[in-house]
C-alpha cells in the first residue's frame, strides 16, 4: 500500500490522471474546479506533457477531440456551466467513438447558479451531455481517495470502450482534503495501441478518419445500434456501487458522491435508534447500478434517494424499483448541503409510515 498523503480532491484527481498516463490537458478557468487546471499547469511540463489554457470551454473540448483522435490520453475539467458548453464536443466525441476524460466539479444551477457544491447535473451527465443517441460513462466518487481512483481508472475505461468518461464530482469533494494513497505511475509504453488514431498513415495503411457524419439514415442507424450494443456490454460489466448495512435494511437510502457521506451518517444515527436503515451508493451513475438497486427493491420496505438537487437520480431508482416498493426523495439544492439530522428525520418519517 502506498504511503498516504493529505491532498485536496481536485489535486488528487489531477495527480492520479497524470499517473494513468494523461499527458494532455485543455481547460478553462471556472470555480470550483480551478485546482485541477492549476495542478496540471504545474505538473504537466515537469513530465513532458502539455497544458494549454483554451480560449473557451468549447475550444477546450475540441482540443480534447483532436488530441484524442491523434491517439493521446487526454483530459479536460470544468464545472456545471462550462460542461454545458462542452456538451457539443462530447457529443462529437461519442459520435466519432473517441475516448477522453471530462471532469465536472459541480456547482449549483441553472444558469450561472452559484459556486457551492451541487449534484444538479445528474440528468445532464446521464441523459443529455449533448445532442443525439449516446451515453457517456459516469463515475461518482465520494471521497478524495475515490477521486484519485476513479480518475486513474477512467482512462482505461475510456480506451477500452472508446467512450468519453465523466467524473462527476462536486465542489465539496474537489475542495476538501483527506488522506489519499496515490496509484502507481503507469508505464507509458504499456498503454493500449490505437490503430484507429489519426496520427499520419506514413504510407503504411489506408487513411484513418475520425468522423460523426453519416448522411445515409440506415448507416447512421446501424452505427447507433452497434454503439448501443457496446453500451449494453458496459451495463453488463461495469455497474459499480458500495453497499453499507443493506442486507437487513428496511429503508435503503440511495445516494452518491457528497450526499452519500451525509446519508451514511444518517444511517448510523438511525441504527442507533433501532431503525434498520442502509445505504446503497452508486459509484457509477451510468451504467446505473440497476442490479443492486433492484435487489434492494426486493428486500427493503422503502427506498429513499438523497441528493443535492430537486430530485434527479430518484428517477432511475423509480425506474428500477418499477412500483415494487415506495421510492421517496429528500434533497437540498442551490448549493445547500443536507445535514445528517435532516436525512435522519426523513428516515424516521418513512419508518413511522411504513410501520402503520
Amino acid at each position: 500500500m502506498a504511503e498516504k498523503v493529505l491532498m485536496k480532491g481536485n489535486e488528487a484527481l489531477a495527480e492520479a490522471a497524470l499517473r494513468a498516463g494523461c499527458r494532455f490537458f485543455f481547460g478553462y478557468p471556472i470555480t470550483p474546479q480551478t485546482e485541477v487546471a492549476a495542478y496540471m499547469s504545474k505538473r504537466l511540463p515537469q513530465v513532458g506533457g502539455t497544458y494549454l489554457q483554451a480560449e473557451s470551454e468549447v475550444a477546450a473540448i475540441n482540443m480534447v477531440y483532436g488530441a484524442s483522435a491523434a491517439g493521446a490520453r487526454v483530459m479536460t475539467s470544468s464545472s456545471s456551466p462550462g460542461i454545458s458548453l462542452k456538451s457539443e464536443g462530447i457529443s462529437y466525441m461519442a459520435g466519432a467513438d473517441l475516448p477522453g476524460v471530462i471532469i465536472n466539479i459541480q456547482r449549483g444551477g441553472p444558469g450561472l447558479g452559484g459556486i457551492q457544491p451541487s449534484q444538479s447535473d445528474y440528468w445532464q451527465a446521464t441523459r443529455a451531455t449533448g445532442h443525439g443517441d449516446f451515453q457517456i460513462f459516469v463515475f461518482a466518487p465520494s471521497t478524495v481517495q475515490e477521486m484519485a481512483d476513479c480518475a486513474y481508472e477512467a482512462f482505461d475505461i475510456a480506451d477500452r470502450y472508446r467512450i468519453p468518461v465523466m467524473i462527476l464530482g462536486d465542489g465539496l469533494l474537489g475542495q476538501m482534503m483527506e488522506p489519499v494513497a496515490l496509484p502507481e505511475q503507469r508505464d507509458l509504453s504499456s498503454l493500449p495501441e490505437k490503430p484507429w488514431a489519426t496520427s499520419g498513415h506514413r504510407g503504411e495503411r489506408a487513411h484513418n478518419v475520425a468522423n460523426s457524419l453519416y448522411l445515409t439514415a440506415e448507416e447512421l442507424e446501424r452505427l447507433n445500434i452497434e454503439r448501443y450494443e457496446r453500451y449494453q456490454a458496459i451495463k453488463d460489466a461495469e455497474q459499480r456501487c458500495e453497499e453499507y448495512l443493506v442486507d437487513d435494511a428496511d429503508i435503503v437510502i440511495v445516494a452518491f458522491g457528497a450526499s452519500a457521506r451525509v446519508a451514511r451518517s444518517a444511517v448510523n444515527a438511525a441504527r442507533e435508534q433501532g431503525i434498520r436503515a442502509g445505504l446503497l451508493r452508486p459509484v457509477t451513475l451510468w451504467p446505473f447500478p440497476e442490479s443492486a438497486v433492484s435487489a434492494a427493491a426486493d428486500s427493503a420496505k422503502a427506498l429513499l434517494a438523497v441528493e443535492m438537487n430537486m430530485g434527479q437520480m430518484v428517477d432511475d431508482v423509480r425506474l428500477v424499483a418499477n412500483g415494487r416498493v415506495p421510492v421517496e426523495f429528500f434533497g437540498r439544492t442551490g448549493g445547500v448541503i443536507p445535514t445528517p439530522a435532516e436525512v435522519l428525520a426523513k428516515i424516521v418519517e418513512i419508518n413511522e409510515r411504513s410501520g402503520e
Binding site: Y65, G66, G200, A210
Partner: protein, 278 residues
C-alpha cells in the same frame, strides 16, 4: 525509343487526392483548391505525416477526398481540433480546410486564438461570401448590399454590420508567420495560389508559426450565376474589398519565425523579453 515511352505525363491525380467523386457543384472552385492542397502534400512528400481537419460547410466531406488521415470537426472548431492534434504530434503536418461561415463566424474565437498562440498549423480558408451548404445565406464576408437568402434586400451595413477581412485581421497577431490572399479564377491565379499554399505548408514544416491562405472564391449555385459570370462578379466586387497579396510574411520581414518578429515588436516591453535576457 518508341513513341509511347516518349510521351510526357503532364497531368495526373495527385496521390494525396483519393479517386472519388466530390460533392461540389459544377463550376465550384473547391475542387481546384482541394487539388492544389493535395499536389502540395505530394510535392513536399508529407501525405503520410499529414492530418487534415475538415469543417462544416461545403467542404464537410473533405475527409473522403484527401488520402491523408482526416478528422471531421464540429462547425467552426477546426483550429481547436488541429491544435489538439499538433500538440500531441508536433512532427505531423496539420492543416484545417474551412469556409467563411465556419472560420469567420461561428469559429472566429478558435481562429483568432489558434493564430495568436502561433499554433504551428496551416489553415486553408475559402472565402466565397456566402453560406453554400445551407443554400445561400449571408456570411460574415458577404459584401455590403450583397443579396443572399437572408439579406434579400442586400446586406444592410446599418443592421448587419460590415464584412470581416480575415487575412488583414489575423495579420495583426504576433503568432502569425505567413498569410496571403489569393484566388483561382484563371490559370495564372491558380499557379500563384498553389505557390502560396506550398509556402504556407513550408512555413509550418520549418516551425515558423501559424500560416493561412485565404482563397477568394465563388459560389455559382447560390450566387445564381454561371461559373464565368461568378468569376467576373468576384473580380469586380470581391477583389477590391479583399485585395490579393501577402498580408504577413515574417521571413520577408527579416525574421526567422513569428516568435522573433513578435519579440522585435515588443522590444520596449521588459517583461516580454526572453527569460534570462540582460
Amino acid at each position: 525509343m518508341s513513341e509511347a515511352t516518349a510521351e510526357k505525363l503532364v497531368y495526373e491525380r495527385p496521390h494525396a487526392l483519393l479517386p472519388v467523386v466530390t460533392n461540389y457543384c459544377p463550376g465550384c472552385p473547391h475542387g481546384i483548391v482541394i487539388r492544389l492542397v493535395a499536389e502540395v502534400l505530394d510535392e513536399l512528400g508529407v501525405e503520410g505525416e499529414a492530418v487534415g481537419v475538415a469543417p462544416v460547410g461545403c467542404a464537410v466531406m473533405a475527409y473522403d477526398f484527401f488520402g491523408c488521415d482526416m478528422i471531421e470537426a464540429a462547425h467552426g472548431r477546426a483550429p481547436a481540433v488541429a491544435t489538439g492534434v499538433k500538440r500531441v504530434h508536433p512532427g505531423n503536418v496539420v492543416f484545417a480546410y474551412q469556409g467563411d461561415g465556419d472560420l469567420a463566424s461561428i469559429g472566429m474565437a478558435e481562429t483568432v486564438h489558434a493564430a495568436t498562440r502561433g499554433e504551428n498549423i496551416t489553415v486553408i480558408f475559402i472565402n466565397n461570401a456566402i453560406y453554400g451548404m445551407t443554400g445561400g445565406q449571408m456570411a460574415p464576408t458577404s459584401l455590403p448590399n450583397q443579396v443572399t437568402q437572408t439579406s434579400p434586400y442586400g446586406r444592410d451595413v446599418d443592421t448587419a454590420g460590415y464584412p470581416v477581412r480575415v487575412a488583414e485581421l489575423l495579420s495583426s497577431l504576433d503568432g502569425v508567420a505567413y498569410i496571403e490572399r489569393v484566388t483561382v479564377d484563371k490559370p495564372a491565379s491558380v499557379r500563384k495560389a498553389k505557390k502560396a499554399i506550398r509556402k504556407a505548408f513550408e512555413t509550418q514544416i520549418a516551425g515558423r508559426g501559424y500560416s493561412m491562405v485565404e482563397v477568394v472564391s465563388t459560389c455559382p449555385t447560390n450566387w445564381g450565376m454561371t461559373p464565368q459570370d461568378s468569376f467576373e462578379w468576384m473580380r469586380e466586387n470581391m477583389l477590391p474589398y479583399y485585395p490579393l497579396g501577402v498580408k504577413k510574411d515574417v521571413v520577408a520581414d527579416g525574421f526567422e519565425n513569428a516568435a522573433e518578429a513578435a519579440l522585435a515588436r515588443a522590444a520596449g516591453c521588459p517583461i516580454a523579453q526572453p527569460k534570462g535576457a540582460e
